[in-house]
Symmetry: C2
Subunit: 355 residues, 2 copies
Amino acid sequence: MTDALPVGATIGILGGGQLGRMLSVAASRLGLKCHVFDPAPDAPAAQVADAHTCAPYEDAEALAAFGAAVDVITYEFENIPTSALDALEALAPIYPNRRALATSQDRITEKDFLTDLGLAVAPYANVESAADMDAAVAKIGAPAILKTRRFGYDGKGQVRLKDASDASAAWADMADAPSVLEGFVDFSKEISIIAARNPAGDVACYDPGENVHKDGILATTTVPAAIPATLRMDAVLLAAKILNSLDYVGVMGVELFVTPAGLIVNEIAPRVHNSGHWTQNGCLVDQFEQHIRAVAGWPLGDGTRHSDVVMENLIGDDVLAVPEIARTAAAIHLYGKVEVKKGRKMGHVNRVTPA
Amino acid sequence: MTDALPVGATIGILGGGQLGRMLSVAASRLGLKCHVFDPAPDAPAAQVADAHTCAPYEDAEALAAFGAAVDVITYEFENIPTSALDALEALAPIYPNRRALATSQDRITEKDFLTDLGLAVAPYANVESAADMDAAVAKIGAPAILKTRRFGYDGKGQVRLKDASDASAAWADMADAPSVLEGFVDFSKEISIIAARNPAGDVACYDPGENVHKDGILATTTVPAAIPATLRMDAVLLAAKILNSLDYVGVMGVELFVTPAGLIVNEIAPRVHNSGHWTQNGCLVDQFEQHIRAVAGWPLGDGTRHSDVVMENLIGDDVLAVPEIARTAAAIHLYGKVEVKKGRKMGHVNRVTPA
C-alpha cells in the first residue's frame, strides 16, 4: 500500500450522476475527497462531492484545472469524449485505463476482445453499410438485434429484427451509425458479476446476481442468482480473465447470459454497475467503496455476501411509492433527482433477508 | 408522512465534525441535501455536504442566511450557544427540540429531569461555591467525581476525588464554573442504548452496546452487550420514557451503568452518538439515517441488528494502522481529518460477524 492515496487526497470523477454520487459517498468513508466533473449544474453527485466543475467535456481550460486539482481520475460512464481523456491523461492517472474504456466503448472491439480471450459471445457481424447489413443477416440469420457500436445504453440505439425482411428498415433506423448485428441468444437467465482489481493485481468478485430487465432497463437484481455452483465459478473465472487481460484497475460489471451451453458474455461495463447496487446492503464493503479502494491503490475490501438481497430500481413514477416503501424493512437509496421523468432512474431499494 | 421532507429538501446541520459528516451522507441516501454550519474551513462534514456556511455561531447575518436556506435544523453537538438557537428558531424547526437540548446541556438539569422521571442516577449535588463543595462531599462522600455542569465531553472538565481531603483542590480546578459532584457508581459494565423518535411519536431502539472507555474517551463498543434480556428490556423502556417525556424528535444516546441494583443513567446526548457507530455495519438503517428520517418527518427505518459488531475508535495515532486494517475483513470509516493529534477522533472500524 506504498502508493495508496492518503486521507485528504482527491479523486476526480468524470460524470456526476447517481453512480458518481454513490462513489463519492464511498470515498468519504475512506477519508478521501471527490471532485466531480459534470456539465449539469444539478448533477446528483455535486450535492455530496467536495467540489464540482460544471463545464462541458470540451472545455479545455476546465479540464486542465480539474486534472491539476485531483490525484487520480475515474469515471462513471463509458461515453467520455476521447479529447477529454487526451487532455487529462498527462495530469493524473486514469483508472480504469484507456484500453479498458476503448474496448467497452465499441461493441465490435469489445466482442473481438472477448472472442480473442476464448470467451463465448452472441454471433455478431459489423454493419457499416446496406451491403454489410445484407451480409450480416445472411451470416447471423433472424431474429436478431441491430445495435449502434457506440453510445448505446439502457436499450437505446437498438432495433429488433423479427425476420430478414426487417433488415433494410432496421439499417435505415441507424442513420448510418456504425452498428453491429447480434444473433439472439436462447438464454434461461441474465446474470451479472461485479469484479474488482487493484494495481497490485488482486482480484475480488461479488456473488453473481440475477437480473430482470423491463423495457431495456434493469428492473431487479436478485442475489444469490439461482444457478449451479459450477456456473458461479465460471463467472468468477471469466471475470478475472477479462480484468487481468486488460491490466484493469477498478470495478467492472460483466453481463452474462445463462444458456445450456454455458455462459455467454453479453457486455462489459468499465465502471460500477446498476446490477451491483445490492452490495450496499449485502456486503461489508460495497462495489462503490471497492472501486474507490482499487483506483486509490488500497487493498480490496471484504465483499463477502452476508445477506440475500433483492434490488429493485425506482424508474420514473416508481419513486412515488417511496413514502409507502419507507414504512417497510427496506433500504432506500435516492439520487436527489427532483424531476420525475419516464424511464429516469430515480433511486433503488434493497430488500434484505439473512443469507 | 404528509409533512415528510421531499427529495431535494435541505437539512441544516449545526456542527460539521464527523457526526455531521455521517449525517450528511445518510441524508444523501434519502435524496436530501445538507447545509452545514461550522466555523472551521476544513470541517469534515463540509467535504460531503451540499453547502457549508463557514462562520462563527455568533454571526447573526450568517445564521439568518443559513436559517432561510434550510427546511429543518438539527445539530451534532450539545454546546450550541443559546443566542444562535434564538436566532434560528423562527426560521426553521429545530430538532431535537430546545427543551431536550437545554436538559442535556446542564448536568444538574439533566439529573433532576431523570430523577423526576423515576429513573436512577448516581448520587449528585450542585456545587457553585467552596461551601457547596463541603456540603456536597458531606452528602455524597468519596471517592467521587467533580464535573462542570456544562460544556464537558470526552472526560474534559472532570476531576476525581480519592477522598474528602481532595475537595478544595478539586473545586479550585473548576475555576468557579458551576459544577456537580457525582458519587462513584459500583458498576459491572457501561452500556448505551441508541433510541429514535419521529414527530408521529414512533420510537425505535437499537440493541444496547457495551462500551469500554480509555482515558475518558470511548475506545470500543461491542454488540450485543453481554447483559440479561431483562436489562435489555429495561434499557429500551427507560429510553422510550425519556424520549416521550421530552416530545423528542431525532436520535438520542443514553449511557447507562449496569449495577446489581439495575440500570443507572449516566448521561443522555441529544444527538447521534459514538457508541452507535456500529449500526453502520450491523443494521439495514443506521443511527445517522434514523436521525435524518426522524427530523425529516419520515417513518423510522428498520434498525434490527443483523450482525454482531465490535466498533473500535481510531484515536490519534491509531489511524496509522489503517493500511494494515484495510487488509482485513473490517469496515473502515475515516473522517477526512488530515492532522493527527493526540486524543483526536480520526475514524473508527467496525468488525462484523453474523449474528
